[in-house]
């Protein structure tokens, strides 16, 4: 009994549960405001290959969380979504309420930034896990769901899971809560896990523990993971691909190692170079200025005003996201880099 319930997949299970690839195609998100609507995402596209870990990176206001949440259509009320959000061959943006409910309960789950305010404060951890398991598989009896919950809690390394079932969220630490949230996702045996800044609120070593756990889940269960983060270094060892966002658009996308070692967009470079870890020059490199207001984006490149390499063209023409390296599908949205690349290709 227990073995069929365990989320740890048997080889056979993996075979017929190939997670679908997820992708955003020119997605726009507009939030209603009392003073006119505010467009948060301005045409975001990226692909999440099945079984991979993709990180959405950017500073506050870049739209990374909105992009992550849009994957599950968990946006604030009244948000208007344009474009297509594909999970396999289905468009999440176009799902009916019932389809969406099934999609969320069985296939895609989410972990939010703040574990303290994610769990229901008045329900025991166990009842929330059981509810989650049964939402995914209504055929489960309560006892089966409980068993599954205990197994899953073990799986995410929560010590003494049986007694923890009775605990209330406020009796647990942030790291434990984040594990419970991961367990709550896993009991549904999802194929996609969306994480919105899952470690920001946690301490360094807890952060490492949680990331290690996510890495394990990806490797061992083939779980597709999308992580929104503001700290590139934190997910560097985990993410297969990196999507760098700025002012509601994707500015660079590619394999993590390649993007981090050889960034092709000035913003990505600046973001990396200003981090204390890489910032070992005489003085720390800085990016001056601040991101543009989302309701007053410049006509050209949004980063042009702060960029070290700006030319007149950058201020006028908005760059498209263009491939700069075919085999790795490394893309960037910088006119000058694109020009530079094509020149070098011509020369070649």
């Amino acid at each position: 009994m227990a073995s069929t319930l365990t989320p740890t997949p048997s080889p056979g299970r993996v075979a017929h549960r190939v997670p679908p690839a997820v992708s955003l195609e020119d997605v726009t998100v507009t939030l209603p405001r009392a003073s006119g609507d505010l467009q948060i995402l301005h045409g975001v596209s990226f692909k999440v290959p099945a079984g991979s870990v993709v990180a959405l990176a950017g500073e506050s206001g870049s739209g990374k969380s909105t992009a992550a949440l849009s994957l599950m259509r968990l946006l604030p009320w009244g948000a208007e979504v344009g474009g297509r959000i594909m999970a396999g061959d289905r468009d999440v943006a176009a799902m009916s309420k019932e389809e969406l409910r099934l999609f969320r309960s069985k296939e895609a789950r989410i972990i939010l930034q703040d574990p303290w305010s994610s769990l229901h404060p008045m329900k025991s951890v166990g009842s929330q896990l059981i509810e989650s398991a049964r939402a995914s598989d209504p055929a489960l009896s309560k006892a089966q769901a409980r068993e599954l919950a205990v197994e899953t809690m073990k799986r995410v390394h929560i010590p003494d899971p049986k007694s923890r079932l009775k605990a209330y969220p406020h009796e647990m630490s942030g790291g434990q809560l984040q594990r419970v949230l991961i367990a709550m996702a896993l009991v549904a045996r999802p194929t996609l896990l969306v994480c919105d800044e899952p470690t920001t609120a946690l301490d360094v070593s807890t952060q490492a523990q949680i990331l290690e756990l996510l890495r394990e889940l990806n490797r061992e269960m083939g779980l597709t993971i999308v992580i929104a983060t503001h700290d590139l270094d934190v997910i560097a060892g985990l993410a297969d691909r990196l999507v760098v966002m700025y002012a509601g658009r994707v500015v660079e996308e590619g394999p993590t190692a390649q993007v981090m070692a050889n960034p092709q967009h000035p913003y990505t470079w600046a973001l990396l170079a200003t981090a204390p870890k890489h910032n070992r020059g005489e003085r720390m490199l800085t990016i001056e200025g601040r991101p543009p207001a989302l309701d007053a984006l410049p006509p050209g490149c949004s980063f042009a005003e702060r960029c070290e390499f700006t030319t007149a063209r950058c201020l006028e023409t908005r760059p498209e996201l263009v491939l700069v390296d075919e085999p790795s599908r490394h893309r960037t949205a910088c006119l000058r880099v694109q020009a530079d690349q094509s020149v070098s290709e011509e020369v070649r």
């Binding site: 500073e59 506050s60 010590p159 630490s173 790291g175 434990q176 301490d203 360094v204 070593s205 807890t206 490492a208 523990q209 990331l211 290690e212 890495r215 503001h230 700290d231 270094d233 560097a236 060892g237 985990l238 981090m260 070692a261 050889n262 960034p263 092709q264 967009h265 000035p266 990505t268 470079w269 600046a270 973001l271 990396l272 170079a273 200003t274 981090a275 204390p276 870890k277 890489h278 910032n279 070992r280 020059g281 005489e282 003085r283 720390m284 490199l285 800085t286 990016i287 001056e288 601040r290 070290e308 390499f309 960037t332 910088c334 000058r336 880099v337 530079d340």
Partner: protein
């Protein structure tokens, strides 16, 4: 060792005997609900010299913030002694406290939006320290405000603005400016960059370093950001559960950590395979484990660790020869795979223009 050398700018030559602040066996106990006693700080001793930056590292609950606040006498220490510029300030009160400590020290906070009073104009905020200590005439105070705005790179017209009209980075600059108004010899900076975006953090760090180079003041720099503390600090103190477990020159501590907890912290900078992740979680400060407080999570713990609490012992570093101390029965046993450290300099996507190189 293959670690690239870190070049610090504004690194004032520090005379370790010119002590600004000294904590001697400071204990800070708080009373919780139901008679629970929490030793937030449990016998911490440290010295900060003029012009020095001491990085205080630890996780939340380690007591690092309490140390910072105790140093500025926001609490009265339960026991122990706090000496500031040669004067014992552990128990002084009122005017005397104001004259000795308040006049010569200040604090920079983590969150610039909560540390500036939203109802006051920047001018009033910056002038307050001068008003409180009755420094100068109104005209002089006004001039001083304008000067300091210039130092932090804001136009004098900003004196008329309110904090919410500024960006996070600008606000933090104002927070720093306020801390500088009285020309202090010590600033306690409690995670001054933690709430800022990465691109803004560097601006703040540069500002802090410039100020130190120019004015020779001492920083007690509290942070959980290891890369940052490594860069900015002369010396680093690592705190765990209310005690200092390791203390030494920044490079020594990171290159050759002696305490396993420090090793684990330092390993977070490495690739995941080389990270040493402590098991479990920080125990409750209300009920610390016996013996070494880290032993339950320590990868190299032996029975002795559960019995005896290791004392902080001072030795000279084998490489640099600088003094360092640690509280571990088996120091240096856990080592780092430093050779594997990731590339630290990121190449720009385009050739760097000369203007940038000059910056």
């Amino acid at each position: 060792m293959s670690t690239p050398p870190i070049i610090r700018t504004g690194k004032t030559a520090v005379d370790p005997t010119d002590v600004v602040l000294e904590l001697d066996e400071v204990v800070q106990t708080f009373h919780g609900k139901g008679g629970l006693k929490v030793h937030a700080v449990n016998g911490v001793s440290l010295k900060i010299a003029r012009g020095e930056t001491l990085g205080l590292v630890g996780e939340s609950g380690s007591g690092k913030t309490t140390v910072g606040r105790a140093a500025l006498r926001l609490y009265t220490p339960t026991s122990g002694r706090i000496t500031f510029e040669g004067a014992d300030v552990s128990r002084v009160k009122g005017r005397k406290l104001r004259r000795i400590l308040r006049r010569r020290s200040s604090m920079v906070f983590q969150n610039p939006s909560t540390s500036l009073n939203g109802y006051m104009r920047l001018g009033e905020i910056l002038r307050e320290p001068l008003d409180v200590h009755r420094v100068g005439t109104p005209a002089e105070r006004k001039r001083k405000v304008e000067e300091i705005l210039d130092v932090i790179g804001l136009d004098a017209a900003y004196a008329q603005r309110y904090p919410h009209e500024l960006s996070g980075g600008q606000r933090q600059r104002v927070g720093i400016a306020r801390a500088l108004m009285l020309d202090p010899s010590l600033i306690v900076a409690d995670e001054p960059t933690a709430s800022l975006d990465v691109s803004v953090q560097a601006q703040i760090v540069n500002l802090l370093e410039d100020i130190q180079a120019e004015r020779g003041l001492a920083y007690l720099f509290i942070t959980h950001d290891l890369a940052l503390v490594r860069r900015i600090s002369h010396r680093i103190a690592v705190m765990y559960l209310g005690r200092i477990v390791e203390l030494g020159a920044a490079e020594d501590v990171f290159a050759r950590p002696q305490h396993p907890y420090t090793a684990s912290l330092a390993s977070m900078e490495l690739t995941p395979e080389h990270q040493i992740i402590p098991e479990g979680e920080l125990p409750s400060p209300a009920n610390p484990p016996p013996g070494c407080s880290f032993h339950q999570r320590c990868p190299i713990a032996r029975p002795q660790c559960a019995r005896e609490r290791p004392e902080l012992t001072e030795v000279a570093d084998v490489v640099s020869g600088q003094p360092r101390s640690f509280a571990c029965h088996f120091p240096g046993e856990l080592t780092l795979a430093l050779a594997d450290e990731r590339v630290v300099t990121v190449p720009p996507p385009l050739p760097v223009v000369p203007a940038l190189a000059a910056r």
